[in-house]
Symmetry: C2
Subunit: 105 residues, 2 copies
Amino acid sequence: MKSGNIFDSIPDKLDEEVFDRLIQNNKVKIERIISKGHISPESGWYDQDQDEWVIVLKGQALIAFESGEEVGLKEGGYVNIPAHTKHKVKWTNPKTETIWLAVHY
Amino acid sequence: MKSGNIFDSIPDKLDEEVFDRLIQNNKVKIERIISKGHISPESGWYDQDQDEWVIVLKGQALIAFESGEEVGLKEGGYVNIPAHTKHKVKWTNPKTETIWLAVHY
């Protein structure tokens, strides 16, 4: 069976966010994202064609929505982002890795 | 946005495994499963029509496959179980909750 541990193989250098695809077929993509102080660009929003369910497994993050709503996520915190709900990552902890699991569906 | 924390609202009584559906549409089902010493029945196997990607977020578990392979999972451990791959949960830690996140796709 294809198995692993989501907390393994964390790169030492995290100049850029790291995206690791774990599963992808025509229905779903599951990926691990590692951030360390990374945030979305100041201007513009993510505007995705698919729904996304995302959970923070380590670290802390703050997601902002075009509506003005903000959702803070710590370990175990999840949020569902419907397709075309404009959002951005406003903050991730710069002192430690934030490990996300994202399910695009 | 629909948000929450996967470690919240753990029932005190866990006589049976607890299944909480977090997301379901025609492509994917995401659920939280809480076990505490629960294992599959001695005879028979799970035989599912869909693929399942499952990760242990707390606790420990051992999954056995009809092939004889066994996969031990601790915090962060995941395994992908293709459709119709017969398997069972051989063991979960009886002393603490095991919290699983399962993506059926």
